[in-house]
């Protein structure tokens, strides 16, 4: 459940802020880099969204290409940083 909530918040952020909110068919496995959805500038904005939304800082050694291949991979990155059960999923 917790993982689902993180994925949904990341999905809705990318759909609205990166893809202008008009998009259908974006899911946790959509290849974000392959399809040109995320670039290095978007990564910066995404990190600041994650910091605000989940109160976690992604350490710079985690900033590798593989961490941003899909929403699912980003969710893993976020979940690694928070102890189980602590996440606040309010919008």
């Amino acid at each position: 459940m917790q993982r689902d909530a993180v994925i949904e918040q990341l999905r809705s952020y990318i759909a609205q802020d990166v893809l202008s909110g008009k998009d259908i068919g974006l899911d946790e496995m959509t290849p974000l880099l392959e399809w040109g959805i995320i670039n290095s500038l978007e990564i910066v904005k995404l990190l600041s969204f994650i910091r605000k939304q989940f109160a976690v800082d992604i350490s710079t050694d985690k900033l590798v290409v593989d961490s941003f291949t899909s929403i699912s991979a980003i969710a893993d990155l976020v979940l690694e940083q928070i102890p189980a059960g602590v996440i606040n999923c309010e919008r």
Partner: protein, 497 residues
């Protein structure tokens, strides 16, 4: 001397000095030299011979640097590929230059080298089993391997976008690269105590300075991975932590570090030179930076398309507060000659404008797969004005080329890639904003009531174009605005926003 000798000579003189520090590992000159030999042996075993093209598709890392040096030792040609590019784009480049081998990860290799590319050898650094695992790789001999090479042999190919989305490989010879590297080393008065930051990706020509000027003088280069390249706080703390002395990037990144990274709240005492290129530095921001760091830190504006590398430069020696235009791109360098040619073919005189033409040792060998360029003067397509003091000032483009964060973009190429989409009837692309805020905006007239989503449009671009040419925004309009002679009226497009 040829390009690979820079590392070899520094390794002989100072084997225990740090050469490159990446996110993966740090290498001394001795270690880099050994690793380069191992790469050369591994690639030779895969059948790579003199003149073969070898792609390097890895995240920015010290190992990727060693791989490039390994390729040069076989007198083969390395082709750095964008680590964030999709497989479809990489495939077109592998095909275009008929690559013999690709250095990458196992997973990436499996995705790209399928179908008609199965014959391309893959050197994977992370695979399981015999031959490809990193430990097995380290077991390879480090004995010296140096195939005979000439100054005019091609050392590397940098891919830029070409017309109608076909990639265009700019071939640079040892002579081309060294003319620039030697000039830059002298002008910067670079020494073994320098610490270079490498911000630009390896497939972008700015990185040639960071790597090879450092190798030339036995200095260290500190790599910034692409994923972290716009994280301002990280960049500024990186500068402090690694005690960087020479910084080179597009102006946008320096502005970002001032605005959000606290670059002006600190005093980076080790920093001694700031170089920028790729686009005009908005003068308002340059003033802020110069007020804080100049003239203790030297400031350089470098200019040159990929095809000529850096062919002019301007050192900002003083910047009066009243100066309100962009700083000049300056005068010829790297042994080149430049002039401005007017519409009628004559030479521009002081005060006049013309197209900047370049001839000299840094002008490329040619585009891969096309006849050699020879000693012909290269017409840059850039309009410049000649000042009374002999400096040139950038004025604009002759064509529809635009720059976004230092990358050049032919709007027509983006349009051609989008016109391929079945749901798009007509399209015009323009740039809104400048610097960090620059966005590529597409105006689409759809074919039959089906409006393609931004997701689809991005995907369409990603498969056909370099990453920096992917559209950021899409607007649907009923018809494209036209000028009286029927051309698309780009200036009228923003009215539809």
């Amino acid at each position: 001397m040829i390009l690979r000798d820079l590392v070899i000579q520094s390794a002989q003189k100072m084997p225990n000095v740090l050469a490159v520090k990446g996110p993966d590992t740090s290498l001394t000159y001795g270690q880099l030299d050994d690793l380069a030999n191992r790469f050369a042996h591994a690639l030779a075993q895969l059948g790579v011979r003199r003149g073969d093209r070898v792609g390097i598709w890895l995240g920015k890392s010290a190992r990727a640097v060693a791989a490039m040096q390994g390729v040069l030792r076989l007198c083969a040609i390395y082709v750095p590929l964008d680590p964030l590019s999709p497989a479809a784009r990489i495939r077109t480049i592998v095909q275009d230059c008929d690559m013999r081998a690709l250095v990458t990860t196992q997973q990436r290799g499996q995705v790209v080298l399928t179908g008609d590319l199965q014959h391309v050898a893959c050197l994977c650094l992370d695979g399981e089993g015999s031959g490809s695992h990193w430990d097995n790789f380290l077991a390879l001999p480090k004995t010296e391997i140096q195939e005979p090479a000439l100054a005019d042999d091609i050392a590397y190919i940098l891919y830029t976008s070409g017309s109608t989305g076909k990639p265009k490989g700019v071939c640079m010879s040892n002579r081309n690269a060294l003319a620039f590297v030697e000039w830059a080393s002298q002008t910067l008065i670079a020494t073994a105590t320098d610490r270079f930051a490498n911000h630009a990706p390896f497939h972008f020509d700015l990185s040639v300075l960071d790597l090879y000027v450092a190798f030339h003088v036995g200095a260290a280069t500190y790599l910034i991975p692409d994923e972290a390249s716009y994280i301002s706080e990280h960049l500024v703390s990186f500068l402090i932590q690694e005690a960087i002395t020479v910084w080179y990037s597009v102006p946008s990144v320096l502005i970002l570090m001032m605005e959000q990274g606290g670059l002006l709240d600190r005093d980076l005492v080790t920093l001694r030179a700031i170089l920028f290129a790729g686009e005009s530095f908005p003068i308002k921001h340059l003033h802020r930076l110069y007020r804080h760091y100049g003239p203790r830190v030297r400031f350089f504006n470098l200019y040159g398309p990929t095809e000529t590398n850096v062919c002019t430069y301007y050192e900002v020696m003083h910047l009066p507060e009243s100066w309100n235009k962009p700083v000049p791109i300056g005068k010829a360098c790297s042994g080149d000659r430049v002039w401005a040619q007017k519409e009628d073919g004559t030479l521009a005189r002081p005060g006049e404008e013309g197209e900047l033409i370049v001839v000299g040792p840094t002008v490329m060998v040619g585009y891969w797969g096309q006849p050699a360029y020879g000693d012909k003067p290269y017409a840059t397509g850039d309009l410049v004005q000649l000042l009374d003091d002999g400096n040139y000032v950038y004025v604009g483009r002759r064509d529809q080329q635009v720059k976004v964060r230092g990358h050049r973009i032919e709007l027509g190429d983006v349009e051609a890639a989008l016109e391929d989409h079945p749901a798009i009837h007509e399209v015009a692309v323009t740039v809104t904003g400048t610097g960090l805020e620059a966005r590529l905006v597409a105006f689409v007239v759809h074919a039959n009531g089906v409006v393609p989503s931004l997701l689809e449009i991005k995907r369409q671009c990603a498969e056909r174009l370099p990453r920096y040419m992917i559209v950021d925004e899409v607007h649907t309009i009923s018809a494209l605005p036209r000028t009286r002679n029927g051309k698309i009226d780009r200036f009228a497009l923003p009215c539809h926003l």
